[in-house]
Amino acid sequence: MNDLYPEGFVTPVESEDFEPGLTRDIVLKLSALKEEPQWLTEFRLKAFDHLQTIKEPTWSIVNYKPIDYQGMRFYSAPKFTEEGDIPQDVLDTFEKLGVPLHERDALLGLAPKVAVDVVFDSVSIATTFQAELAEHGIIFCSISEAVKNHPELVKKYLGSVISYRDNYFATLNSAVFSDGTFCYIPKGVRCPLELNTYFRINARNTGQFERTLIVADDDSFVSYLEGCTAPAYSENTLHAAVVELITLDSAEIKYSTVQNWYPGDENGVGGVLNFVTKRGICKGDNSKISWTQVETGSAVTWKYPSCILRGDNSVGEFYSVAVTKHKQQADTGTKMIHVGKNTRSTIISKGISSGDSVNTYRGLVQIGKNAHNSRNYTECDSLMLNNSQALTLPTVSQYNSTSVVEHEASAGKLNEEALYYLQCKGLSEEDAINCLVTGFCKSVFQELPLEFAAEANKLLSVTLEGAVG
C-alpha cells in the first residue's frame, strides 16, 4: 500500500458487471436495466451515434496511451445482499474514507452535518438526510431516482447546458452515464445543509461515467461539494463525468470539488484519466455560480468548469488549486462567457507543480457584444517546486468597449528567504514548504466550505510529502 495515497485500497466485493465493450447494445442494456423512459433512451442513442462520428480532442497539453473503449466495462455495481442491503464491505469502505454515511453520527456531532450521496462504481448506493431536505422542498437524490420520480425536471434540464454533441467525452458520458446526483432547490429556499457527493471507483478496468445536475430556482442558494478517490491500480481508469448547473433569477450555486483520484505511481504507471466537462449557466438575472476546485489527484486531468453569464448582473467565479507531482499532467482552467449586461467574473488559479509533472492553466474570457459594462478579473499564479513545467494559456475576446478585463499572472519558485526564516523558527524544511504552499493557496482554500478547508490543507500536505527533494 502506498503511504502517500492511503485511499488506494481495493474493496473485495461481488459485483454485477456488463461485459467489456462499447456498443449500441450496451447502451440499450444500460437503459433497460435502469427502466428508463423512451426520451432518455433516445438521448443516449443520439449521443452514441454522434460518438461514432467524432474523435477525442487533441488540443490539450496531455499525453496518454490510447483508451481501449472495447476492452473496458461500462457498468459495474456491487451486488446487494439477499435482504436487499448494501454489502457491509461497501459501507466499511466509506467508513474508512471518512465519508459520513450515518445520519446518527452527524446528529451526535461525530461528523459534520452534511447530506451525502455516495456513488460506488456505476451506482449511487445511499443518500442521507433526504427526508429533512424534502421538508424544505429540496430534492437531493441519485440521478437514476430523479429520472423515475421527477422526470419533468430532468427532461427539461438534462443536456441543456452541455449538449450531447459538446465534446468527445461529454458525448461518451451522454451515451453511457450510469448514475450521479440530482439536486433541485425550490424558489426562495436556502439549502440548510451542505450537499455532498462522494465518488468511489473500485472495480478494475471499469470506467466511471456519472452525471450531476443541479438546478437552483429563483432566489435559492445551495452549497455542494464533491469528493472522489480510487484504488491504486497499475492500469489507467477512465472517469468521464458531466456536471451541469443552472441558476435562475437571483439564485446561487456554490460548487466545490476536492479531486483526489489515484494519481498513478512515481513513474507514471496507473492513475485515473479525469476527463470531465463541467459548465453552469446563470440563466436568471442577478444569479451566481461559483466553482472552487482543489485538484491533487488523477494521472491526467482535463477539465474547465465554466460559466455562461446570460442573466444581467450575473456573477461567475472560479477558484482553483491544481497540484501535480511525479508524472502527473493537469490541463485545467475555466471559461467565462459574458452574455448579459453588467456581468462579472473572477478567476483565481493557483498551480503547484513538482517532479516531471506538467501543470497548465487554460482559460477563456469572452465578453459578448451585448454584455455591456462587464468585468473580469483573472489572476494566475504558478509555483514550481523543481524541474516541473507550468504553462499559462489565457485567451481573452472582448466584443464591446464598455467592459474591462484584467489579467495578472506570476510564476516562480519557493521563496528561499521565507523558507530560511521559517526554519530559523524551528520548522523542518518539509513543514516550512508546506506552510508556504498552503499560504500560496489560501485565497482559494478560503472559498471552500469550512468543514472541507481543513481537509484540503491536509490533502495538500500529504500530496506534497516526498514531492520535494
Partner: protein, 237 residues
C-alpha cells in the same frame, strides 16, 4: 555554552569574517560594531543561513552544530530574532507559533493562543494580532514586537536578537527591555546585536564582542561598551 572555534564566514567567494573565536555561556552578551562590519552575518552564520559558506567549528553544549540544518539548530533551542523579518504570505502570526511548537510541548492549543494574545496585548499590538499575516502589512516596529513574542512563546535556551530595537519607539523600547529582563534567567543565553545606548545601558553583559575589521574580539571587560558609545570603533579599525 555556545562555542565558535576558528570560524570563517564567506559569501560568493568573498570573506566577511575570519578567525572568529567566541564563547557564549548563560547570561547576556552584546555584539557591537560599525555598520556593515558583519554583525548580522555572524548571527545568521550561527543559524547556518544557506547563503554563507562557513568553515571552522560550532558547538552547542555537547552537540557539534556544523552538520546540522537551520531548523535542527532551532530545535536544539537556538533562536534568531531577525533585523528585517521576512514576510510570509498566507500564514498567520499564530500559525507560526503553532507549527513551531508542534513538538515537545504538552500545553494545549488554547493555552498557547491565550499566551500569545497576552503577550500581544502587553506589547500594545492591535486586536486580532494572532490572525494577521506574518510580517505582511506590519510596520517595522510591529514586526520586531512579533519576533519578541516568538521568543517568549518558543522559550529557547539561546536567543540571538539582531537589532531588536530598530524601528521601535521609546515606549516600545521600554517594553522590549521589560520583556528581555523577564526572559533573562540563570539558564538563558541572550546575545544582543545593537548599538542603541539605552538598550545597552539597561543590561549588565557577561561579555562584549566587537565585530570590526573582518574579525571579532570578545572581552569580559564591559567598559568597552561605554568606550565605543562615546568614541566609536576607530580603535578597532
Amino acid at each position: 555554552m555556545l562555542i565558535l572555534q576558528d570560524v570563517t564566514i564567506a559569501t560568493e567567494g568573498k570573506e566577511i569574517l575570519n578567525n572568529v573565536n567566541l564563547e557564549f555561556g548563560p547570561g547576556i552578551h552584546f555584539i557591537v560594531g560599525p555598520n556593515g562590519a558583519g554583525k548580522s552575518t555572524l548571527a545568521h552564520a550561527i543559524m547556518s543561513n544557506p547563503k554563507y559558506d562557513i568553515t571552522g567549528g560550532m558547538k552547542y553544549n555537547d552537540t557539534q552544530l556544523d552538520e546540522l540544518a537551520t531548523w535542527e539548530r532551532a530545535q536544539l533551542g537556538i533562536f534568531l530574532s531577525f533585523q528585517n523579518p521576512t514576510p510570509i504570505e498566507g500564514m498567520s502570526n499564530f500559525r507560526l507559533i503553532k507549527e513551531a511548537m508542534n513538538m515537545g510541548t504538552t500545553s494545549s492549543i488554547m493555552d498557547k493562543l491565550n499566551g500569545f494574545r497576552g503577550l500581544a496585548k502587553e506589547l500594545n499590538l492591535p486586536e486580532g494580532w494572532d490572525k494577521k499575516e506574518l510580517n505582511v502589512q506590519a510596520s517595522g516596529g510591529e514586526k520586531k514586537k512579533n519576533e519578541l513574542i516568538q521568543m517568549k512563546m518558543l522559550d529557547p535556551s539561546v536567543a540571538i536578537l539582531d537589532e531588536p530595537d530598530s524601528g521601535l519607539d521609546v515606549d516600545a523600547i521600554n517594553s522590549l527591555i521589560e520583556q528581555l529582563s523577564d526572559f533573562n534567567n540563570k539558564d538563558k543565553t541572550i546575545i544582543i546585536v545593537s548599538h542603541y545606548e539605552k538598550l545597552l545601558k539597561s543590561f549588565e553583559p557577561s561579555t562584549v564582542t566587537v565585530v570590526a575589521n573582518g574579525t571579532t574580539t570578545q572581552t569580559t571587560d564591559i567598559s568597552v561598551v561605554t568606550k565605543v558609545l562615546a568614541d566609536g570603533f576607530k580603535d578597532f579599525a
